[in-house]
Amino acid sequence: MLWDAAAPLLTLATSLVTGLVIFVLSEDRETARNTLNIGAALLKLVLVGVMLWGVYHGAQYETRFALLPGIDFVLRSDSLALLFVSLSAVLWLLTTVYAIGYLERSPHRRRFFGFFSLCVASTVGIALAGNLITFVFFYEALTLATYPLVVHRGTEKALRAGKIYLAYTFTGGALLLGGTVWLYGLLPAVDFAYGGVASTLPVQDHPALVLIFVLLIAGLGVKAGIVPFHSWLPIAMVAPAPVSALLHAVAVVKAGAFGIARVVYDVYGIEFAADLNLLTPLAVVAAVTILYGSLMALLQQEVKRRLAFSTVSQVSYILLGIGIFGPIGTIGGAVHLVHQGIMKITLFFCAGNVAETLGLHRIDELDGVGRRMPATMAAFTIAAFGMIGLPATAGFITKWYLGIGALNAGMYWVIALLAVSSLLNAAYFLPIVHAVWFKPPSVRWIEQMPATRFETDIRMLLPPLLTAALTIGAGVAAGLVVSPLTWAQFFAARQYLR
């Protein structure tokens, strides 16, 4: 059917075409640009919604054409892809609304929104990629599309951050490409498939497969921010808030984690990866990253830097879930792909609101802000509680599944890790929550924006409120069909019940 073949491509096109058209529109055509942006984001939501409905009822959507002889370009919407695409579709819409408000009075908006859309298009490509080579293509495209966003402000600091970002991600990309080429040397085609394709190789290739695995994970790990490849992440914080938000929640960091999920589940296959003893080292790396990121976050005095190290820590929950063999652990990892996204984007939106509205960037300046910006800080508080993993938030669902999954797999140390990590998360989020609500202001706020009826621009206020509501929704209504948990269970069932 035409629709089945076109749906993934159309989804990609919503963002890609938007980006290209924005470059053509002149800088001052603001209304046209905003309408196009929002319209495309809504259209994409509809497309994704239709595909979700279809896949849940057994439909298959695949776009495939030959790129080179023997190498196909494949876009396909399986359950894992849809988990990621839905996340990016929802958050793209919200972040666009946010960015329109955020960049109200700043220059170079055409450039910004153009690359912003290309960045999202690359993310969609990464999510829908049906084989390794398509994945790598979009993965590199993402690096290129994000660079102009990181250096958007054009300051010396931003340019330096951009340089470091490129150095890290291109090195990672090279490792990934190396691994991919090697793998293509062994296999005729590396299409993503439930249960993986690598297990068909004979035993003498297994050592090579282990090395390839290390290459692929290291390459993807740079973007996923695993220790010791994480240092670019806090530096890239100079980017504007909506970029940081998208970078941490959906685009770059998540692309790395998603790629690792693809490699483990759909290239190697979870059972084969377990046979090769690859999962435990992955879980250990994730554990080290979780602790290290949290410890470093504790030591940061700048809001965005603390959030950045928190991302380093939280994204590795996903890897931890991948490293735990068994359906429950898989659910925990997959569901955190979504949960981490909605929680972290809330935090970044809120940090951006405070920075733009009152000019506050450091944690010790936040005292008493809850009085001036109660809605923003309420959203922040909810997301912070989610990060700690308190019940009735999305974070608790993740933690619970990771914990039970680890116990089922006999990885008892994970329980201690989860407990300590929650403790550390509490240690770096609760003082902020306390300060904003209970302390008297320590610095004079300088209003940066024209006063409105609300505590800040409504376009910057609604997105964090919505994502905070989603954080609670995903935690409270976890048993509903539309919850991320249900979809993660759907995905895990396909991995193990074959």
């Binding site: 240092s231 608790f396 914990g403 039970i404 116990l407 407990a419 929650s422 403790l423 976890a478 048993g479």
Partner: protein, 568 residues
Amino acid sequence: MNAALLLMAVMLPLAVAASCIAPASRRLALALAPWAAAPALLLALVSPAGVLVDLPWFQLGMQLGLHPLTRLFLLFTSILWLASALYARSYLAEDTRRVRFTFFFMLTLAGNIGLIVALDLASFYFFFALMTFAAYGLVIHAGSAEAYRAGRVYIALAVIGEGLLLAGLLAAAHVSGSLLIADLPAAVALSGWRDVIIVLLLTGFGVKAGLLGLHMWLPLAHPIAPTPASAVLSGAMIKAGLLGWLLFLPLDVALPHWGVAFAALGLAAALAGAIVGVLQTEAKAMLAYSSISQMGLMLVAVALGFGPTTEPGAIDIAAFYAAHHGLAKAALFLGVGVIGATAGTRERRAILLLLALPAVALVGAPWTSGAVAKALVEAQLHSAHGLAWVKPWLSAAAVGTGALMIRLLLTLAASAPDSGHRLGLPAVASWLALTVASAIGAWWLAMPWVFALPALASEPIDALIPLVLAALGSVLALKLHRAGWRAWQVAPGDVIALFDLAPLQRTLAVTVRRVGDAAAAVWLRVTRAERRARRRLLVEVGREEFAFPMVAGGLVLLFVTTLVILLL
């Protein structure tokens, strides 16, 4: 009908809390707040047992309902909240932060009610956490440096407790393969993880229950919180920890070594709490230490559960003890507030006399609920494995409590009234109602067992001995005091107060930072200016007040858990 009542018992406090947010509905919130616990009381009185609400979509699947144990907890908890909320209305009438107080008070109430009616583990944990975190707002209400310090110790210990609890609940759910609380104890008893789970649950709930060693937040938080909040903290909320033990621990299974361990820990708390309490100078701090002491006695009652099954069972005895102590202690806390707001000499005398009622009940004087509680425990000690030695120590604890209560009443008698503070009639009435409930209500609860306790009828004089000894000791202490002897003073929070954490905190932060720097230098060429900026940060890190207790607690937790796993 009953399902609606149950949902209302949980949702009404939440709704009142929500109406505190918008300025337009604040008046409504303040008007409703005193009655927010009423549906819970009604539920405890009229609802049948069993599953009343089943919401499979909520979190990991929510089931709410009642059974005999939780009905008793719900009964005394809702009475305490009702009285305290009524009291709070006049206590805080002139407080500018009363809307904020009401917000947190209602959230805490919702958590406390919810955890009692929760039948599944995830809902229990949710409501437990809601109560824990909302109570932070009550602890720091005064907004003083002292209140913030109390809040810091409270939240640090609470978060550590949450971590231990989560680990324990995960392990319990893992071995039972079920999320229903009722399925857990039996599965835990049979599993190879039994001892680990018992330790995790003992300590995880122990933070809330004021277990010796994790009790430091109690004497800091209770005195500084507003009086109605202290009453529910000490009367109802710390009982949530006890309820956790009763619901989750594998009781009614013979584990004599755990029985001995629990009893020893409980008695140590009972004695230490009383002794340190006597050395306090502030009435509410004395009451807080008395709570630690009394929770120790309840832990002894829990210990009975590791022996052979008895009638009445250990769970019933501990629950009765909780009801008795909850009512008496809340009456004392509210009474301390009442006497502080009363100026007339004659009225103050009358109040002191009425305060003596719950005080002697705690000591276990004849014909009080305390005597029933003590007799219930003692009657089972003979049949319990290896717990016969406990009996004299119970009497020693009673002497300690006696001395503590005498000290409390003397302190109150000598105290000057707080001239600026007046209480309305509803506050006094709610205190009186609690006093009556404590004196009579507990008897009503114990009715089924009273006639089966020969000790109560035949030896009422025996029950008087601890009180007499305590009185003699107090007279002696007063004489010594007049002769110029001075006892030590122990600052509230005892162990915590011994350390000045600031230097330790800074050293630790600097060390961690250096390690971080070294790692960063390897992976990233750090410019010299950046290094200098970072060094400046070092100093600021010292201000990170939460960091030390959290990190230290986390490392201890990691260490202990690893050790336990290695030893298995």
